[in-house]
């Protein structure tokens, strides 16, 4: 029940077109198809996430990049089944290891959250409950899914805390959140998220609130911990440089739609969508010192004032009359590993699938 006109992409099979002969080596743990979320507002339903589709292979790291308001955080919450009023899931499918999560009763969904699919949030100072001790918050996370004694759970907490780099965990787990620094609190949140070695970890701007040196440490640690546990990650961020070093694949989101996806090296080297190209040009290190930093003209459109067609068109130098329609998602390249939603790609994408 989205407000936009039915897009061509819905009609076209998106990425599966050519996947039969070049199936990814690893199985997809998460298959998302046409995920849509709308928010009720005075002016009617606003579509925050519009037909998002992607696959996530086991152990893979995918970065979802977008400006604030692009729908990336809402996508993360929707995958976890945590969209609350006034938001509403309006369609799509989320398959976790072959199991459909959309429409699953809350009690079953609860058993999946935190165990097979976990999440860490942006602000470490507000992620942990201020009035409960760390051990309480971790033991409850273990016992929500596993029937173990308190003593055994405590051992696991201790071990997990030391793995995320909390010194003297046996004493520190008796402390309250306010007795830890922001970086330490995010480590604790990561420890909680990885307690059950989930198949998928969704990190929503998980290092944005931290200072740069801590950010790099934590990124490296999450990466190695996730690798160890075989956890696939969806790293949601507005910062292209964070995912550049972390992700295997990047999906660029704009105004609720995925506009481009591809392997990180290809996408960064040869962006196809004008928006992606603009984003990459904005990264300060790409600019010549002394010259003005490049930027994309205009700003992210408000969902309430979104026109039909390509949402980026008003800011795009390449837009033409055809951009009044929503461009279909077009895949190309070896194994159709790249896809784009644009009528006027920046690079030659060859024969369209």
């Amino acid at each position: 029940m989205t407000t936009s006109a039915p897009s061509v992409a819905r009609v076209l099979p998106s990425q599966e077109t050519s996947s039969h002969h070049t199936a990814p080596l690893r199985n997809a743990v998460l298959k998302v198809r046409d995920l849509s979320v709308a928010f009720a507002s005075r002016g009617g339903a606003l579509t925050a996430v519009d037909g998002v589709s992607f696959n996530l292979a086991a152990g893979e790291v995918m970065g979802i990049v977008g400006e604030s308001g692009s729908g990336k955080s809402v996508t993360g919450l929707a995958l976890m089944g945590l969209i609350g009023w006034p938001g509403r899931l309006t369609g799509g499918s989320v398959m976790l290891e072959g199991e459909e999560l959309i429409g699953m009763p809350e009690s079953e969904l609860r058993r999946i959250r935190g165990r097979r699919m976990a999440m860490i949030l942006q602000d470490p100072t507000s992620t942990l409950n201020p009035v409960l001790r760390i051990d309480t918050q971790m033991i409850e996370a273990i016992r929500a899914h596993d029937t173990v004694s308190e003593r055994a759970a405590r051992e696991r907490v201790c071990e997990m805390l030391s793995r995320v780099g909390i010194p003297s965990p046996r004493e520190r787990m008796l402390n309250y959140p306010h007795q830890f620094s922001g970086g330490m609190r995010q480590r604790i949140a990561i420890a909680i998220a990885l307690l059950h070695r989930p198949a998928v970890l969704i990190a929503d701007e998980a290092t944005t609130a931290l200072d740069v040196s801590i950010q790099a440490q934590i990124l490296a640690e999450v990466q190695s911990l996730a690798e160890e546990a075989g956890t696939a990650m969806i790293w949601i961020t507005h910062d292209l440089s964070v995912v550049a070093g972390l992700a295997d694949r990047i999906a660029v989101m704009y105004a609720g739609r995925l506009v481009e996806t591809g392997r990180v090296d290809q996408l960064l080297e040869a962006p196809a969508h004008p928006y992606t190209a603009g984003l990459i040009a904005c990264v300060p290190s790409h600019n010549i010192p002394g010259t003005e930093v490049a930027q994309i003209p205009g700003s992210t459109p408000s969902l309430a004032r979104l026109k039909a067609g390509c949402a980026f068109a008003p800011r795009c130098r390449r837009s033409t009359a055809v951009c009044g329609q929503v461009p279909p998602l077009v895949s190309w390249g070896e194994a159709s590993e790249r896809s784009i939603r644009c009528f006027h790609p920046v690079i030659d994408i060859g024969a369209r699938s």
């Binding site: 945590l82 999946i112 935190g114 942006q122 409950n129 201020p130 009035v131 409960l132 929500a144 309250y176």
Partner: protein, 327 residues
């Protein structure tokens, strides 16, 4: 922690002296007790005798310092009417009022907080809206009228409980209280409900507002993402956080329950401190009025001290601010 308690006690003593001064001056300003106490046909000389006997002929500051030094020794003067120590009279009635206030507070918390949490979790549901409408009635209907209606319905028409008075006390662990006997509880129920209705309404609002705020916090989203059950999220993660505003309000309101049980005690002919106060005011029995006010102030101060200590127990961040040991 100890330094914190001592500092708070010091503040409390200052508050007590300030209130004593206010009370004394205010009471001094109303009426002349001699005219009500002396016989109608008393001569001027007899009136003067009474005045001298009661010490009312001395300057006000002398009276005040006498009052303060006596008060420090637990002597708040003798009742003009009963000729007994005023403090003793008030304290004799104190248990009855305390029982009433405690039961009312208990009802307010056990009814108000769960309803408020429910209304906060489902603000747009029929139940949530219904609770809020109900709380408006709790606020706006006058207490004495609610009391009369309760008597009419439950004591006169349905005859479930007595209409007034205090029941026989029972014993538990060496403590004597009407809370420990069935008869006592039967007598207490209606006045306690009457006294608690306003507080129920208040706590519903406080708990609802706090719940709505807490439910949106990241740590609740994170708790859900951990896969915790709804029960645990509501009764541990949310409840423990909303107890901070609830205790603030309760601390203030418990004092006022004791102090302002007057209307309820009058409606239900309940022999508590409030009824004693009303009787004493109509007889201009100054020492009893003063003793009542001083006892009430002490109770207020103590309850607020307890509320502050309760914060420290619930919110670990207060412990740190209070000079406790930090990690």
């Amino acid at each position: 922690m100890h330094a914190y308690v001592i500092r708070r006690l010091g503040q409390s003593v200052f508050v007590l002296i300030a209130i004593a001064l206010l009370v004394f001056v205010a009471i001094y300003a109303i009426g002349d007790p001699v005219s009500t106490l002396a016989p109608q046909d008393a001569t001027t000389a007899e009136l003067e005798g009474v005045r001298q006997r009661l010490g009312l002929d001395r300057p006000i500051y002398v009276q005040f310092f006498l009052f303060l030094s006596n008060a420090a020794q637990g002597d708040l003067g003798r009742s003009f009417v009963y000729g007994e120590p005023a403090l003793k009279l008030v304290l004799e009635r104190f248990p009855a009022t305390l029982e009433l206030a405690l039961l009312a507070a208990f009802l307010a918390v056990t009814i108000g907080v769960p309803l408020g949490v429910y209304a906060g979790l489902r603000p747009d549901s029929l139940g949530g809206r219904g609770i809020m409408v109900g709380s408006i009635f709790g606020f706006s209907l006058p207490s004495f009228w609610q009391g009369l209606m309760l008597i009419l319905i439950f004591a006169i028409v349905l005859r479930w409980v007595p209409a007034g008075g205090r029941g026989d006390p029972g014993m538990l662990l060496g403590l004597q209280s009407a809370l420990f006997s069935l008869d006592g509880l039967r007598h207490l129920l209606l006045p306690a409900v009457n006294l608690s209705l306003f507080k129920v309404a208040l706590l519903i609002r406080v708990a609802r507002a706090a719940t709505r705020e807490v439910a949106l916090q990241d740590y609740i989203v994170f708790a859900r993402a951990k896969g915790l059950s709804r029960t645990r999220i509501v009764w541990v993660h949310i409840l423990k956080n909303i107890m901070i505003p609830v205790i603030t309000v309760l601390g203030l309101e418990l004092g006022s329950l004791i102090a302002f049980a007057i209307v309820t005690e009058t409606v239900f002919a309940y022999p508590g401190m409030g009824k004693l106060l009303i009787d004493s005011i109509s007889q201009l029995d100054r020492p009893v009025i003063v003793a009542y006010l001083m006892v009430t102030v002490v109770v207020f101060v103590l309850i607020n001290l307890l509320a502050d200590l309760a914060y420290a127990a619930i919110d670990p961040r207060v412990r740190l601010a209070g000079g406790g040991k930090s990690a």
